[in-house]
C-alpha cells in the first residue's frame, strides 16, 4: 500500500503536467554564466507574495485583475543581459525545440535587428506555459512562465482594460 502510494506520487510529480521545460532549462544553464547575464528563478510563492503586496496599491480594477492573474504564475525564469552570445539562428533553434515539447508560436516580430517571439503551451483551454523571447540588437531577454491561465481571466482583464 505504502509502495503504491509512493509510486503514485512519483508518477504524479514527474508527469509532464508538472515537468520543467527541458529546452528552456538547457538554454538557461548554457547562458546564465555568460559575461553580463542576469538570471532569476522565481518560485510561485514569491510571485504571489509580490502580487499580493502590489494589489494593495492597485489603483483601478484592471490593475487588480492583472495582479490576480500574476498570482496564477507558478514559476518564472528570467535570463537577460547585454552582449550575450545568442544569435538569430540559436533563437530559431530554441523556438523549434520548444515546438517539439508541445509549444505553439503565437506571434513573431522582427524589425531593424530586433526580434520578439511569443510562444505558449496550452492544455484544455488553460495556458500552462508562456515564453517570451526578445533580442533587441544584442540586448537579450527570455522570460519563461509556468502558469495556469484561464482564457476567461484574460477576457475579463481585456474587458476591464477597455473599460478603464
Amino acid at each position: 500500500m505504502k509502495n503504491s502510494l509512493f509510486l503514485f506520487l512519483f508518477l504524479f510529480i514527474s508527469s509532464p503536467f508538472f515537468a520543467q521545460v527541458q529546452t528552456i532549462d538547457d538554454f538557461y544553464a548554457k547562458h546564465k554564466r555568460e559575461g553580463e547575464a542576469m538570471s532569476l528563478n522565481l518560485p510561485g510563492f514569491l510571485i504571489r507574495l509580490g502580487a499580493s503586496i502590489a494589489s494593495l496599491e492597485a489603483e483601478d480594477e484592471a490593475e487588480r485583475v492583472a495582479l490576480e492573474i500574476v498570482k496564477d504564475v507558478r514559476r518564472a525564469k528570467i535570463l537577460a543581459g547585454e552582449n550575450l552570445r545568442i544569435g538569430g539562428s540559436e533563437i530559431q533553434q530554441l523556438v523549434s525545440d520548444l515546438a517539439t515539447e508541445g509549444f505553439e508560436e503565437l506571434m513573431t516580430v522582427r524589425s531593424e535587428g530586433s526580434t520578439m517571439n511569443v510562444i505558449i503551451r496550452e492544455r484544455k483551454d488553460i495556458i500552462r506555459s508562456v515564453v517570451l523571447i526578445v533580442n533587441d540588437n544584442g540586448d537579450f531577454t527570455l522570460i519563461s512562465l509556468k502558469t495556469r491561465l484561464y482564457l476567461e481571466d484574460l477576457t475579463y482583464l481585456i474587458n476591464k482594460s477597455l473599460e478603464s
Binding site: 516580430v109 522582427r110 496550452e122 483551454d125 473599460e163
Partner: protein, 168 residues
C-alpha cells in the same frame, strides 16, 4: 499486413504534407528568401493566436451587431504574415507583381498613384466563389514596400455583412 499499414501511413503522411504545402501563403511561397533578411520587417501571427482571439469574449464600445460581424470575420482567419521594407521598395513591388502566379491569384483591386504608393489586392479563392483562401495586399512606393497576407477561409458574404454593418 504490417507492410500495408506502413504504406498506408506513408501515403497519409505524404497527402497531409502536400496539403499543408498547397496551403502555404504567398509570402512563404514567393518571398521565403527575405524572411531571414535583416533589411525586412517581418510579422507573423499564428493560427493559434487567431484561435485564442476567437475564444475571447471581448466587450467593446462597438454595438453588438458590429462585434458579431468582426468576430465572424476573425473566426475565419488562420494566420497573418507581413513583410515590409523601405529599401529598394519600388523594385521589390515590381518583383512581387512579376513573381505572383496570376493563375492562382486573382486581382481584386489596383490603385495606382503617381505621387504615392501603388496598391494591389489579390485573392486566392475556392471554386464556389464565396470563399477566399488568402487575401494578399501589395503596396509599393518610393519609400515603402509592404506585403500583407491574410490566410484562412474568408467568406465573402461575411465581408459584405461586415461592410454593411459598419456603413449602417
Amino acid at each position: 499486413m504490417k507492410k500495408w499499414s506502413y504504406l498506408l501511413l506513408t501515403a497519409l503522411f505524404c497527402a497531409i504534407t502536400s496539403l499543408a504545402s498547397a496551403q502555404a501563403d504567398a509570402i512563404s511561397k514567393y518571398f521565403n528568401q527575405y524572411l531571414d533578411d535583416e533589411r525586412f520587417t517581418v510579422v507573423y501571427i499564428s493560427p493559434k493566436m487567431f484561435q485564442l482571439i476567437q475564444k475571447l469574449d471581448i466587450d467593446t464600445d462597438m454595438e453588438e451587431e458590429e462585434v458579431k460581424a468582426v468576430m465572424n470575420m476573425v473566426e475565419d482567419l488562420r494566420g497573418l504574415r507581413i513583410l515590409a521594407s523601405d529599401v529598394d521598395s519600388y523594385a521589390l513591388y515590381e518583383e512581387a507583381i512579376k513573381k505572383i502566379d496570376t493563375k492562382e491569384y486573382e486581382i481584386l483591386m489596383t490603385v495606382r498613384s503617381k505621387q504615392e504608393s501603388d496598391v494591389q489586392f489579390l485573392v486566392k479563392d475556392e471554386n464556389d466563389g464565396n470563399t477566399i483562401n488568402e487575401l494578399l495586399m501589395i503596396v509599393g512606393g518610393k519609400d515603402n514596400f509592404v506585403l500583407m497576407s491574410f490566410v484562412g477561409k474568408i467568406n465573402l458574404n461575411k465581408v459584405s455583412d461586415l461592410s454593411k454593418t459598419f456603413s449602417n
